[in-house]
C-alpha cells in the first residue's frame, strides 16, 4: 500500500518532468524567456499556476526543475548505492582492521553536521579542475558528487549489518565448499539476499539527496539560475513573500511530494521484508 502510493507519487513527478517539453509546446510559451508585461499573473488557462517575478510560467518552471532535481537524485542514488554497497560489503567480508577503519570513518561522518560541510564543499570552484563553469549539467554533476560523498554512509552501514548476518549462514559456507570464489559468493549469493536493506537505504538516500540539493540551491550554492530547480525557485520566491506569497508554495510542495514518495517507498519495502 505504502510502496504503491510512494511509487505513484514518484512516477507522477517523473512523468511530469518528462512531459515538460510537450506541455510547453501545448501551452505555447517558453519558461526561460522573461515576459515583463505578465509579471505575477494570476492562474489562468495559459498559466495554470500563474507567473513569477519575470513573467515566466511557474508550472513549466516547476516541471523543468523536476528534471534537474530528479536527475541529481538519480545520480546520487546510483553513486551512493554503488559506493556504499561496496564499502559495506568490504567491511563485512574483510573484518578486522579494515572493518574497524571503514566503520569509524562512517561513524565520524554521521556525527558531523552535514550541511555546513556541504556548504563549504559546494563553494569549491570546479573551474579549477578544468570542468566547464556555470552550466546546468556541470552544476548537476558537482552537486551529485558532493552528495555522494555524504550519501554512502547510510547505505554502507545498512549493507554491512545485513551482510554480517548473512555471511554466517550455511548457504555461504556451502557455496564456498562447492568451490565458488569469494567474489562469486559475495555477488551471486550474498547480494540478492541483502537487496532489501540496500533498497531501503537507497530510497532514503534519494530522499536525503532531494532535500540537500534543494537546500543548497536555495542557499545559492547548488543549481545556478537561470536553470530552474525547486530550491532556487524558492530562494527567488522568498524575496517576494510580501508581493507574491503563492509563488513560494508550489516549489516547496513539489519537494514535499518527492521526498514523501521516497520515504513511503522505503517504508513500503521495509514492511515487505521478511
Amino acid at each position: 500500500m505504502r510502496l504503491w502510493l510512494g511509487l505513484a507519487l514518484l512516477g507522477a513527478l517523473a512523468l511530469g518532468a518528462l512531459a515538460a517539453p510537450l506541455l510547453q509546446s501545448w501551452l505555447g510559451h517558453d519558461p526561460f524567456t522573461p515576459d515583463l508585461f505578465n509579471r505575477f499573473a494570476a492562474p489562468s488557462a495559459a498559466h495554470p499556476l500563474g507567473t513569477d517575478e519575470l513573467g515566466r510560467d511557474i508550472l513549466l518552471r516547476l516541471l523543468h526543475g523536476a528534471r534537474v532535481s530528479l536527475a541529481v537524485a538519480l545520480a546520487v542514488a546510483l553513486g551512493a548505492t554503488l559506493l556504499g554497497t561496496g564499502i559495506g560489503l568490504l567491511a563485512a567480508w574483510a573484518g578486522g582492521w579494515t572493518e574497524a577503519l571503514l566503520m569509524r570513518l562512517a561513524d565520524g561522518m554521521l556525527a558531523l553536521p552535514a550541511l555546513p560541510l556541504l556548504v563549504v564543499l559546494a563553494a569549491v570552484d570546479t573551474g579549477r579542475f578544468g570542468l566547464p563553469r556555470g552550466e546546468a549539467l556541470s552544476d548537476i554533476i558537482r552537486i551529485a558528487a558532493i552528495l555522494v560523498v555524504f550519501g554512502w554512509v547510510v547505505v554502507a552501514r545498512l549493507t554491512r549489518a545485513a551482510a554480517l548476518t548473512q555471511l554466517s549462514l550455511d548457504y555461504v559456507a556451502a557455496a564456498r565448499v562447492a568451490g565458488a570464489g569469494e567474489a562469486r559468493v559475495l555477488v551471486r549469493h550474498l547480494l540478492p539476499n541483502i537487496a532489501g536493506p540496500i533498497a531501503v537505504a537507497t530510497a532514503l538516500s534519494v530522499a536525503g539527496a532531494i532535500l540537500a540539493e534543494s537546500t543548497l540551491s536555495f542557499l545559492g550554492l547548488g543549481i545556478q539560475p537561470p536553470a530552474p530547480s525547486w530550491g532556487n525557485m524558492l530562494s527567488n520566491a522568498q524575496e517576494m513573500v510580501f508581493s507574491a506569497p503563492l509563488a513560494a508554495v508550489w516549489p516547496g510542495l513539489a519537494i514535499l511530494l518527492a521526498v514523501t514518495g521516497c520515504t513511503l517507498v522505503a517504508d513500503g519495502i521495509r514492511q515487505r521484508m521478511p
Partner: protein, 312 residues
C-alpha cells in the same frame, strides 16, 4: 565508562583533524585569495605590491605549510582574524555560538517534548497510529527552509503578529521570545517527526510485552502503565535518536538562521564562505562539528546511565 569517554575523545580529535585538513585543502582550491580581492578593489596596487603582501601574510607558501602554521596557532589558542568582519575571529565566534545554542536548546526541548508526546499518544490510543504516521512522514519530508518561508508568510506577512527575522532590538525576555518564536518553531517542527516516529515504534514494542499485561492485570491505571512501566524502557531508543540527530539539528540551524537572518553559527559559516573568509569559516565549521560531537557523546553517556545493560 571512562574508557568509552576517552576513546570517543580521541575519535573526536582525529575527526576534527581530518575535517580541518580536508576543508583546508578544499578551501585552497577555491578561487581568489585575500590579495586578489584587495587588487580588485584598489587599482593603485602593483604586481610587486601583491607579491609583497602575499609574502607578508605567508600566502606564497605551499598549502600544507600554511595549514601546519595555522593549526599550531589554533592549538596555542590564537584564533586569528576574521577578514569579513575585520575583528579578531573569537569576537564573532562566541556570541554566534551562544545565539545558536539558545535556538537549538529551545528547539530541542520543544521537538523532544512534543515528539515524544505524539509518539506515546499514537502508540497508546487505538487507531491513532496511522494518523501519527501520516503526520510524521509529511513533517519529515518538509524542507526546513520552505517551512520557514510558510511561517513567515502566515505569521509575519498575513497576520503580522511576529517579526519576519532579525534579532531583538529592545532588551527584555518577551522581546527576545518574539524574535525567537518563528525560528524555534521552524526548527522544532522539522525535527519533531523523528522523535515521534521512533518513540511510537518503541512504545508499540514495549506495550506488546508481557510485563505490560501483568501490570494491567494487577489493575494499575492505564496512565501508570504507560508512563511508569512502558515509557522508561521505550525512552532508551529515543535517546539514541537524540544522539544521532545532533548533526541534523545543527544543519537545520544553518538554514533557519539564514532564513530568519539570525547571527548564529550557521549563518556565520554561510556568510564566511560567501565572503571568502577562510579562517572564520574553518573555525566556525570546526566549532560546530566539535559541539555536535560533544552533544552526541553526552547523549551516549546519558543512554548508558539510563540503560544498565549497556554499561556492563
Amino acid at each position: 565508562m571512562l574508557a568509552l569517554i576517552a576513546g570517543r575523545l580521541v575519535q573526536i580529535a582525529v575527526t576534527l583533524f581530518l575535517v580541518s585538513a580536508a576543508t583546508w585543502s578544499v578551501m585552497g582550491l577555491m578561487p581568489g585569495d585575500p590579495v586578489d580581492l584587495a587588487l580588485m578593489s584598489d587599482p593603485q596596487l602593483t604586481a610587486e605590491d601583491a607579491a609583497r603582501l602575499r609574502a607578508l601574510h605567508g600566502l606564497d607558501r605551499p598549502l600544507h605549510e600554511r595549514y601546519l602554521a595555522w593549526a599550531a596557532a589554533l592549538l596555542r589558542g590564537e584564533f586569528g582574524h576574521s577578514r569579513l568582519f575585520a575583528v579578531p575571529a573569537a569576537q564573532v565566534l562566541w556570541p554566534a555560538l551562544g545565539s545558536t545554542l539558545v535556538l537549538l536548546g529551545c528547539a530541542l526541548l520543544l521537538a523532544g517534548g512534543f515528539g515524544v508526546l505524539l509518539g506515546v499518544w499514537g502508540a497508546a490510543r487505538r487507531g491513532a497510529a496511522p494518523a501519527v504516521d501520516a503526520v510524521t512522514i509529511l513533517a519529515q519530508s518538509t524542507p526546513t527552509f520552505w517551512l520557514g518561508i510558510l511561517l513567515i508568510i502566515l505569521f509575519a506577512v498575513e497576520l503580522g503578529w511576529l517579526p519576519a527575522g532579525g534579532l531583538a532590538e529592545a532588551p527584555g525576555l518577551a522581546e527576545a521570545a518574539r524574535f525567537l518564536a518563528l525560528p524555534v518553531a521552524t526548527l522544532a517542527i522539522g525535527n519533531l517527526a523523528g522523535y515521534a516516529r521512533h518513540s511510537m515504534a518503541a512504545m508499540q514494542a514495549e506495550l506488546g510485552a508481557n510485563y505490560i499485561r501483568t501490570a494491567r492485570m494487577k489493575g494499575l491505571p492505564e496512565r501508570a502503565v504507560l508512563w511508569g512501566h512502558a515509557f522508561p524502557n521505550a525512552a532508551i531508543p529515543v535517546v539514541t535518536i537524540l544522539a544521532l540527530d545532533a548533526g541534523a539539528l545543527v544543519s537545520g540551524a544553518l538554514v533557519t538562521e539564514t532564513i530568519f537572518a539570525r547571527p548564529g553559527m550557521g549563518k556565520l559559516i554561510y556568510d564566511a564562505i560567501m565572503g571568502n573568509d577562510y579562517n572564520l569559516a574553518l573555525l566556525a565549521l570546526l566549532l560546530a562539528a566539535l559541539v555536535t560531537m560533544l552533544a552526541t557523546l553526552a547523549a551516549d553517556i546519558a543512554q548508558r546511565l539510563i540503560d544498565p545493560r549497556l554499561s556492563r
